[in-house]
């Protein structure tokens, strides 16, 4: 018999582990990603592979040579970041820009803060916003799905883009609704946009899988989607010709992708459930503000990035309820 092991209690451990969590999230993203392969074929495959490989290589290089620590690329977090970044890119994004995005996301967004668990901002969001601001043209050149392309038209604006431009030009909502895919089409996902924001249905299926496996809780997705629904609903009720209906808002842009997969990132979101509700609600409000009154058609990335900065404050304010909390005696 080998030497006995001595350690403190508990001597049993659950089957939870970090790689398991990361790989479950990747699995949850697969239905939507496979659908995007169907829409964008090899372009989507290329973007995804370059994004994931560059993210992993950047993390490995920084860990080994700059930080001189043991690289932990197999915990799945770099792979997940790479995949999420890819879901946010147009499928025609040049390879070199994808690599810059990975360097920004992993190098600045994650490793500069100290690696896994220390980052304030969601690395995928950080990378995406970095690229959006640095290369606005390439990042907003949205190709149509391959099946919808004609020799004259390869790309088109996203649905939100069409809506925003149209409203600026004075057209009414009902006029614009004819130009864009119907609600059902948007739900199933045949429209122009990034490879990840296509199919709301498949993303929701992935989200339900994560909920069922207890990887995420309902608080953040429901509060984001709920807040966006309520506020755009109020605006739409006030003037249906000036403001698009709330279902339209829910199904467009990367809202569902952001609400289920990006805002729920453990490291950059609050710890307590009440904190998560507040976080989600504020993200929802900022999304509506940017979409309706801001100059960008799409606000989810910025909203999440902004709220990431407030998470330490939210954690301080919303602490779990202590068992047997002693109420202060009246003087």
């Amino acid at each position: 018999m080998e030497k006995l092991v001595v350690s403190q209690s508990p001597h049993l451990h659950s089957k939870e582990s970090v790689p398991k969590i990361m790989y479950f999230v990747i699995i949850a993203l697969l239905p939507a990603w496979i659908f995007s392969l169907y829409l964008f074929r090899l372009e989507a495959l290329k973007v995804t592979i370059v994004s994931i490989t560059s993210a992993v290589i950047v993390e490995w290089l920084i860990a080994k040579y700059l930080l001189k620590k043991k690289p932990t690329i197999w915990d799945g977090s770099a792979i997940l970041t790479g995949l999420l970044l890819a879901m946010n890119y147009p499928s025609t994004l040049p390879i070199w820009i994808i690599i810059v995005g990975s360097i920004a996301a992993i190098g600045i967004g994650k490793m500069s803060f100290g690696g896994l668990g220390q980052n304030i901002f969601n690395p995928a969001i950080f990378g995406r916003v970095f690229l959006l601001v640095s290369f606005p043209a390439q990042m907003t050149h949205w190709p149509l799905p391959i099946s919808l392309r004609t020799p004259d038209q390869i790309s088109g604006a996203t649905v939100l883009g069409i809506m925003k431009e149209g409203l600026k030009n004075g057209e009414t909502v009902s006029q614009l609704m004819d130009k864009i895919p119907s609600g059902m089409q948007m739900f199933y996902g045949v429209m122009g946009g990034s490879i990840g924001e296509m199919s709301a249905l498949l993303l929701i299926i992935g989200g339900l899988f994560l909920l069922f496996r207890k990887i995420i809780t309902w608080h953040i997705p429901v509060s984001i989607l709920g807040t966006v629904f309520i506020f755009t609903g109020i605006l739409w009720l006030i003037n249906p010709e000036q403001y698009a209906n709330p279902v339209f808002h829910l199904l467009t842009g990367g809202l569902i992708l952001g609400a289920i997969f990006m805002a729920t990132d453990y490291v950059s979101s609050p710890m307590s459930n009440s904190g998560k509700l507040v976080y989600g609600a504020l993200i929802g409000i900022i999304v509506v503000l940017i979409r309706v009154w801001g100059s960008y058609p799409e606000g989810v990335s910025f909203a999440i990035l902004l709220m990431n900065a407030f998470v330490p404050l939210i954690d301080r304010a919303f602490k779990p309820k202590l068992f047997g909390k002693v109420k202060k005696a009246k003087a």
């Binding site: 209690s9 939870e16 970090v18 047997g324 909390k325 002693v326």
Partner: protein
């Protein structure tokens, strides 16, 4: 709907492989080592010397303070020496070593199997008897029972709760006790009710023991006192005092307070049986039921063993240490102590010995905290373990006190669930020790 505590808790695998093994009485060994510190509080003082002859049940050590207990000889024989031996703490502690000769009991002890149901002593006499007979909490905490039953001024006791939950994986001694000594147990409950002067008692049992629930419910029908069996949802740590009180009475013991502050006293079933034997049979606490089990142990069992028997003897009784044993745990796998050697004596608080196989004994590599909040969600006391670990690492003891570090019941749910395998409970315990020291130093000033 089965009751439980609302917040936190985890579901470790139950491993109740010894649940249907009847209690076997282990033979009296050739030598016993009776540790002098078998309770929470001050150690006891030895009353015997080398070469003294003792009988079973003879008092060999007396309480060393208010929160302390008497110790009685579990065997008859000659005192070999009073020496320092390694106990579960991994350090050497004082103990009385007795060489066994025969099995002669003190005359005053009633050894018959007859179940005495009439309670002839008054409330105060009962508590005195419990004190004299050296009864301590046998769930593992070993708090002197007579101190718990002495209600401090300004508090009243409304309910008695008997803890038959046994939420620790592997352990089944309480389960077998409820099945095989149910009648004695109910008399013990009635004795405690009289001692505390309460009208109502509850017996909390997890629903993975349906036979015990049924049997005890039946027995309770036949008593005049109001005793209710409450089946509880299977969740760890349901057996923790505070969680049990919350589940049954919905009252929360205040942070830093005791159960008596919400009018409740909790006693383990093993303690209750010992109370019956002490009050009705004049038998001091000299033996107890210990589960010996493990994930690769085929002949696991529940044994009635004399205090002071070496754990080696218990392991022998299940067929010896399996070849690939990685850890020998004194207690349950969630809160028990891993031992460095197996030649450690059984004490009043030893509820089980778990022989964990090699594959389950090693800790995985520690990763950074990913702020997943699982530890916060499972903590039954509403604490934030990831934060407490960080604070303890930085040695910020005042901050730890502010974050209610002392409220931790050391159940281990946080370390159990952490996906990054962080040693949360190790650091939280470290914090508790230092905050207690800090408080003590303030009092001194």
């Amino acid at each position: 709907m089965f009751r439980t505590f609302p917040k936190g808790g985890v579901h470790p695998p139950e491993y109740k492989i010894s649940a249907d093994k009847k209690i076997k009485t282990l033979d009296v060994p050739e030598q016993v080592v009776v540790l002098l510190n078998q309770n929470l509080g001050a150690p006891s003082k030895a009353l015997v010397n080398k070469k003294d002859k003792v009988k079973v049940g003879q008092k060999i050590a007396e309480a060393g303070g208010f929160v302390s207990s008497n110790i009685h000889s579990p065997v008859s024989g000659t005192v070999l020496k009073i020496d320092n031996i390694i106990d579960t703490s991994g350090y050497k502690k004082s103990a009385i070593v007795i060489n066994v000769e025969g099995d002669e009991w003190e005359e005053s002890i009633d050894k018959s199997d007859e179940i005495k149901t009439e309670i002839n002593l008054s409330s105060e006499e009962i508590i005195d008897k419990i004190k004299e007979m050296g009864i301590v909490g046998m769930g593992g905490a070993t708090f002197p029972t007579h101190v718990k039953l002495s209600i401090p001024k300004g508090n009243t006791c409304e309910y008695l709760i008997i803890n038959g939950v046994e939420c620790e994986p592997f352990l089944t001694s309480d389960h077998r006790l409820m099945l095989e000594k149910g009648e004695e147990l109910i008399v013990g409950v009635r004795i405690l009710m009289k001692a505390l002067k309460v009208e109502k008692a509850y017996i909390g049992i997890e629903r993975n023991k349906p036979d015990a629930i049924e049997y005890l419910s039946e027995l309770c029908q036949n008593t005049t006192e109001d005793i209710e069996v409450v089946p509880l949802k299977v969740k760890y740590p349901q057996g923790g005092e505070k969680q049990l009180i919350k589940a049954i009475t919905k009252r929360e013991v205040p942070s830093g307070g005791l159960p008596i502050h919400v009018g409740v006293v909790v006693q383990n079933v093993g303690t209750t049986l010992a109370v019956y034997e002490a009050v009705q049979k004049n038998k001091p606490l000299i033996d107890r039921i210990v589960t010996v089990t493990g994930d690769k142990v085929e002949n696991s069992g529940n044994f009635l063993v004399r205090i002071g028997t070496s754990i080696d003897k218990l392991i022998e009784a299940v067929g010896g240490i399996p070849e690939d044993t990685g850890k020998i745990i004194n207690g349950g796998p969630m809160m028990g102590k891993a031992m460095k050697i197996s030649n450690v004596p059984v004490t009043k608080g030893t509820s089980g010995i778990v022989l964990l196989s090699e594959s389950k004994s090693h800790r995985e590599e520690i990763m950074p905290c990913i702020k997943c909040s699982r530890c916060v969600n499972v903590c039954p006391q509403g604490l934030e373990p990831y934060l407490l670990m960080d604070i303890s690492k930085k040695k910020m003891w005042e901050e730890a006190e502010k974050q209610n570090n002392l409220d931790c019941i050391e159940c281990g749910s946080c370390s159990f669930i952490c996906p990054s395998n962080r040693p949360l409970l190790d650091y939280i315990r470290y914090g508790k020790q230092n905050v207690t020291a800090l408080r003590r130093s303030r009092v001194k000033k």
